[in-house]
């Protein structure tokens, strides 16, 4: 279902929602990030996309799973840290990041339902913002078979058509959120639909397709595990974690116990992001490391995204947002690698 909201009424909408935590993209120095809303605000026209992906709303970098504290009488109190019931509303998720959320759902909600993830997922409304122009040079959602108007993983999608947004409800959760104030929304006219179609067409045209045939890449990966290509592609890699930490789909984590005090005992178990590009990621306690060099680590990243995940879930674990390629210190471009793989003989 689609309705229309005027751009000018957007601050009013935020005001009506102010009992929830509202997150809006805001500029922090040179880059965008999601910040809590300060009240009457509107979506910045200049907004491109956030540098850090919105996965932090459902999979924070550091998340306490539970905490054990020792009481005065020697009894232990276990705090399960799952009390959060307040609703978070995130505005301005780009469709590629929405697709990434649907990937995370596949990981965390499929065969095993992760209670921490699912609680956060249920208590967050993701409101997307379609791209009328590609936010970055390296954007390429079309390569991954998505579009700048994709609705996957989102609850609501806003489509900017100049002075107003077309609001598309995708889930019931999204529909319920705005149902309380119908006077802010108007009916969609045929003229709106026409201008939307025009914008859609142009936007799709503006996004370059970086890999000609991705299915070819996936096929080739089966036969090139031992290829020299991995050495050459990863030669300039410096083993940092920018690509995976900025990636909206990467979801590897580590669980640690951290002691805050010995007496009285105060320990917490935390889940933190982990990173397959660090040498220690696969280090065994025997001292053996099955992925000892950067070529095997880079290969792992590509294989996980375009071969293993594709085989189990039928989708590539990449949304084409381009963050890894934009911010790689050594300028390694994932799309170029994929193209080279596709052309591999």
């Amino acid at each position: 279902m689609e309705v229309v909201i005027q751009r000018d009424s957007f601050p009013q909408l935020l005001e009506k929602l102010n009992r929830y935590n509202i997150w809006l993209p805001r500029k922090n120095g040179d880059y965008w990030e999601f910040k809590l809303s300060r009240g009457k605000e509107s979506l910045d026209k200049k907004y491109t996309n956030t540098k850090l992906s919105p996965k932090k709303f459902v999979l924070p970098q550091t998340e306490t799973l539970f905490q054990i504290t020792e009481g005065e009488n020697g009894k232990f109190n276990i705090d399960e840290k799952q009390k959060k019931d307040s609703l978070d509303i995130v505005f301005g998720i780009r469709p590629c990041d929405g697709v990434a959320l649907s990937h995370l759902d596949k990981v965390f909600l499929n065969s095993f339902k992760d209670p921490y993830y699912s609680k956060k997922r249920d208590n967050t409304v993701f409101i997307g913002l379609a791209c009328e122009t590609p936010p970055f040079e390296n954007c390429s959602c079309t390569t991954m078979g998505e579009s700048p108007f994709s609705t996957k993983g989102l609850d609501i999608l806003l489509k900017d058509i100049g002075d107003r947004y077309i609001v598309e409800y995708i889930t019931d959760k999204g529909k319920k959120l705005f149902s309380g104030f119908p006077n802010l929304f108007g009916k969609i006219t045929t003229k709106d639909k026409e201008s939307l179609e025009k914008i859609k067409k142009e936007s799709n045209k503006k996004i370059k397709k970086r890999v000609e045939d991705l299915s070819e890449t996936t096929k080739k990966l089966d036969i090139m595990f031992d290829s020299d290509l991995w050495f050459h592609e990863s030669q300039s890699c410096i083993n940092c974690g920018i690509c995976t930490y900025l990636c909206p789909s990467c979801h590897c984590f580590d669980i640690n116990d951290e002691q805050l005090s010995k007496k009285p005992l105060n320990v917490k178990r935390v889940r933190t992001w982990d990173n397959c590009q660090f040498p220690i990621f696969t280090m065994h306690s025997s001292g053996h490391n099955p992925r000892p060099d950067k070529q095997s680590r880079y290969r792992r990243r590509i294989y996980h995204k375009f071969s293993y995940f594709y085989k189990t879930e039928g989708e590539h674990l990449c949304t084409g947002c381009g963050r890894c390629s934009n911010y790689c210190p050594a300028g390694i471009n994932i799309f170029e690698t994929l193209q080279k793989v596709a052309e591999y003989e």
């Binding site: 410096i238 940092c240 974690g241 300028g331």
Partner: protein, 343 residues
């Protein structure tokens, strides 16, 4: 003037005559203006080499990686590795030689003088040339840079787009080189420690707010550590304990490893990580500015290192990267070192 054709010719000769194993240089970037590192093995591939103000990276990091690989495989190095190095890059090689991590015979340095310029700052370029898609940067003798774009060349004063460290550069001429391209010119755009002056003059509370505000953003991708040529430890204080474990380690040793900071990204632990990193680089950092360039959350890491550089110079008269026979800063002392802070 540095002519890229001369460098290419020399590179070709070295590779043809099998004087070097391979050459680490710069090639045209595919994503924006910044040049990319390239590793050239065949003489005919030298055509892709470029030299201009977009050659930002400090390639000596890859010498460290090469050395680590060698140590791991216990392989004998037969031929030296060639590297194209700017003045600051050669200083970082000098520190690595001073600390005996690298051996002089293992490297072949093709030094290139920055002359009147230096390298660009990606962020400044992005701000200034949004939407204009700059394609190349050319030096000019009069402290101006020419930026080539689709709409023709645009002239910009150097300090508007040069990286901060190049504006404060001590010497634009490389040292320790086997080959040198470009002239040795004296140029000074700004005082050496201009960038930290502003922070130093703030009251203590504001300084704390500044650094706390920046460091709490840290996502621990460790790019600053990974990109630094001086960070070559096999064990880092911030890594989980397993890294120091070898085949010979006992269970007791594993269990008793000290955990200096936790995995949770708390502001305190981020600050401690950065402080330790800075202290480890005191008297070693040669201000190549790579740590700050790669930081995905724009923490001004360089300003921390700069403070240590200033302290080393003012209090101990020590400058890193100029003399490979000098003992390093903290493995040495003088009787007259300041001690007025000690009671």
């Amino acid at each position: 003037m540095v002519h890229i054709e001369d460098i290419k010719k020399e590179a070709k000769r070295l590779l043809k005559e099998k004087k070097i194993k391979y050459l680490i240089g710069y090639k045209r970037g595919t994503n924006g203006l910044t040049a990319l590192p390239t590793f050239i093995k065949e003489p005919e591939d030298t055509d892709e080499l470029i030299w201009e103000a977009s050659c930002i990276q400090n390639l000596s990091r890859y010498l460290v990686e090469e050395k680590k690989e060698q140590l791991k495989n216990k392989a004998e190095n037969t031929l030296p590795v060639g590297i194209i190095a700017k003045a600051c890059d050669t200083r970082s090689i000098a520190v690595l030689l001073q600390e005996k991590f690298l051996e002089r015979k293992d490297i072949y340095i093709i030094g290139v003088s920055c002359e009147y310029g230096g390298v660009i700052d990606q962020k400044k370029i992005k701000k200034k040339f949004r939407g204009k898609k700059p394609e190349k940067v050319i030096f000019d003798k009069t402290n101006n840079l020419l930026i080539g774009t689709k709409f023709g060349n645009i002239k910009v004063p150097a300090e508007e787009i040069l990286a901060e460290r190049c504006i404060e550069c001590k010497s634009t001429f490389p040292l320790l080189c086997d080959d040198v391209f470009g002239e040795n010119v004296k140029r000074k755009i700004s005082e050496h420690f201009n960038s930290i002056k502003e922070i130093e003059e703030l009251p203590a509370e504001s300084r704390w707010e500044f650094w706390h505000g920046h460091l709490e953003k840290c996502i621990r991708c460790f790019a600053c550590r990974s990109v630094c040529p001086m960070c070559f430890c096999t064990e880092c204080v911030v890594d989980p304990i397993e890294l120091a474990v070898t085949n010979e380690s006992t269970a007791r040793e594993k269990a008793e490893k000290v955990k200096w900071i936790e995995r949770s990204t708390t502001a305190t632990d981020n600050i401690i990580f950065q402080l330790v990193r800075t202290l480890h680089l005191a008297g070693r950092c040669i201000d190549c500015g790579e740590c700050e360039r790669v930081c995905p959350v724009d923490i001004p890491i360089r300003l921390l290192n700069k403070k240590m550089e200033k302290t080393a110079l003012e209090k101990f008269g020590y400058e890193s990267g100029f003399d490979i026979n000098m003992p390093s800063l903290i493995s040495n002392f003088k009787d007259e070192d300041p001690q007025d802070f000690i009671r």
